[in-house]
């Protein structure tokens, strides 16, 4: 949509093709939320029937109603645990953003630092966090700090690599223009490279959001029962020991909901920041 087109009066009639297209758009709009809901309802119904028809005991597979009962009945315990896991996740995401973007800027400003440290960032990323976590908890006294470190290790790399890519993806003509006008290195970073990197950074952020939740859950599982270990992952483990399968499902549902919430929130943030100018946030007419 361009400004010039805005000034023209709207077409008085709609031809058959346009009407068909508009109808298809309306149907898709409804289907977008209705179909997944139908699928969920169907799956829950099948699940319920399997349990009822086969007479499966609840300590093997609880019925959906029993899971719902656990979700509402144990809500206070689960909610406290969710708050703890959520807090670790958000703190880890925050340091992943600061650490990842900060490292990306540092690497971008000093090539020697990049050459020295980048291989180790990759090594840290490719080593499974489950394998590193037990070591961390040997040397780090505080469980909270240990869990944050685990979550950070998983989450910082997508921010680092996508921000680095963004900082290097500046239009070369714009870079020349900045040189001609005698821009300082900081002006170039602040007015040119950081805005250019923003869409890439936000892409990395969306991945990091999910990963920091994974990191927090893994860290909780490894950290075990001592100290502050009363997060959702701990609840899942604990309920498993007690054969309280319904609560396992309930806790799992909350973890999944948290993941969805983080992704949705970050997508919204990304849309708000880019909607005015970036191609990815622009709706095309056709």
């Amino acid at each position: 949509m361009s400004v010039t087109e805005l000034n023209q009066p709207a077409a008085p009639t709609v031809d058959a093709e346009e009407a068909r297209r508009a109808r298809a758009r309306r149907i898709e709009k409804t289907a977008r939320w209705l179909l997944p809901l139908l699928v969920m309802a169907l799956m829950i119904w099948i699940w319920d029937r399997i349990v009822v028809w086969n007479d499966i005991p609840h300590f093997i597979l609880p019925s959906p109603a029993r899971v719902w009962g656990s979700l509402t009945g144990d809500w206070e315990i689960l909610w406290d645990s969710a708050l703890l896991t959520g807090r670790i996740t958000l703190m880890a995401l925050a340091i992943a953003v600061v650490g990842g973007a900060g490292l990306a800027i540092l690497f971008n400003q000093n090539r020697m630092v990049e050459l020295s440290l980048y291989p180790y960032a990759v090594i840290l990323q490719v080593t499974p966090v489950v394998a590193i976590a037990p070591l961390i908890f040997i040397y780090v006294e505080s469980k909270t700090v240990g869990m944050l470190m685990c979550a950070w290790i998983v989450a910082f790399f997508p921010v680092l690599s996508s921000t680095t890519l963004g900082l290097n993806s500046v239009d070369h003509n714009l870079r020349d223009l900045f040189r001609i006008y005698g821009a300082t290195r900081w002006q170039r970073l602040w007015m040119l490279q950081l805005p250019s990197a923003l869409p890439y950074f936000l892409g990395g952020l969306k991945i990091a959001g999910g990963l920091s939740l994974i990191g927090a859950v893994v860290a909780e599982l490894v950290a075990g029962t001592g100290g502050v270990g009363t997060g959702l992952a701990f609840r899942i483990q604990e309920a498993g020991y007690r054969l309280n399968i319904a609560r396992m499902f309930a806790a799992l549902a909350i973890v999944a909901a948290m993941g969805v919430f983080i992704f949705a929130a970050l997508s919204l943030l990304s849309h708000m920041l880019l909607r005015k100018w970036h191609e990815s946030a622009i709706k095309r007419e056709t």
Binding site: S2, V3, D171, N173, D176, F178, R179, Y181
Partner: protein
């Protein structure tokens, strides 16, 4: 502009003195190029691809250093003395039209309020004063190029370098922008070096055409278009225009043969 003195009586702005540019791999991009630029000149660098016209522009802009020879300015160059327009509009997509035009001042650490009038003036010059708060994506190709020109002119530079700015536009838009460009140049009285591969564009715009050949890039001939400004559609259909186009075409043909 009709009253401007003949070209060799105007004060000299800068000169390119027997400049060579060799790229790695012994690629001679430019050989012994000399060019004297006087205030108020409209010079076109005309030639086939690979003739070093863009390299020459980058050397003049100070974006790269000559291998040998010198580029000399009559007076020391200040930050806003040079404006550049590239083949693409090269706007910052995250900034509004006004913010894009503000850029040269912003890089000089001037506040927006202190240069508001200049920005509005430049946007009026290119006919986009109503689009100050639009984002580049909302504009057509020709309008984006106008913003780019406004940005180059906003500091009232002594010299504007243009690297095939209208090559990607359709002919109707290009003719319109050619007319407007002459009009703008007359009003702010700047000097222009204009790279193009269009004979018609170079004849219509310039008072001097530097014809260049490729492999190695070098100057073949310098043509003078001694026709008075302002030039408009009347000039575009005159027999003088046709004669100059023929002369420029012949020189370009020689340049192609020299390269072959």
């Amino acid at each position: 502009m009709a009253l401007i003195a003949p070209f060799d009586m105007r004060p000299e702005l800068m000169r390119v003195d027997t400049v060579d540019k060799v790229f790695p791999g012994n690629v001679q991009a430019l050989r012994a190029m000399s060019l004297t630029v006087r205030e108020g000149d409209f010079i076109s660098l005309l030639g086939p691809s690979g003739c070093g016209k863009s390299t020459a522009l980058r050397l003049i802009a100070g974006l790269s250093e000559p291998t040998s020879g010198r580029i000399e300015w009559s007076q020391p160059r200040a930050q806003g003395d040079l404006g550049v327009v590239f083949q693409e509009p090269t706007l910052m997509p995250w900034a509004t039209v006004a913010q894009n035009v503000y850029l040269p001042f912003r890089l000089e650490s001037k506040t927006y309020a202190s240069v508001k009038d200049e920005i509005l003036e430049a946007l009026k010059l290119v006919g986009l004063e109503k689009f100050q708060s639009a984002y580049p994506r909302e504009l057509s190709g020709g309008m984006k190029m106008r913003v780019s020109i406004a940005r180059a002119m906003v500091t009232q530079p002594k010299l504007i370098l243009m690297d095939e700015p209208f090559a990607a536009l359709d002919e109707i838009t290009r003719f319109k922008l050619n007319n407007d460009l002459l009009d703008m140049q007359a009003r702010i009285g700047c000097t222009v070096i204009f790279v193009t591969h269009s004979v018609f564009e170079s004849v219509f715009l310039s008072d001097r055409i530097v014809v260049m050949a490729a492999r190695p890039g070098r100057v073949i001939e310098e043509l003078h278009v001694d026709e008075p400004y302002p030039r408009g559609e009347v000039f575009r259909t005159s027999s003088e225009y046709v004669a100059h186009c023929r002369a420029a075409s012949q020189a370009l043909e020689q340049a192609m043969e020299a390269a072959a």
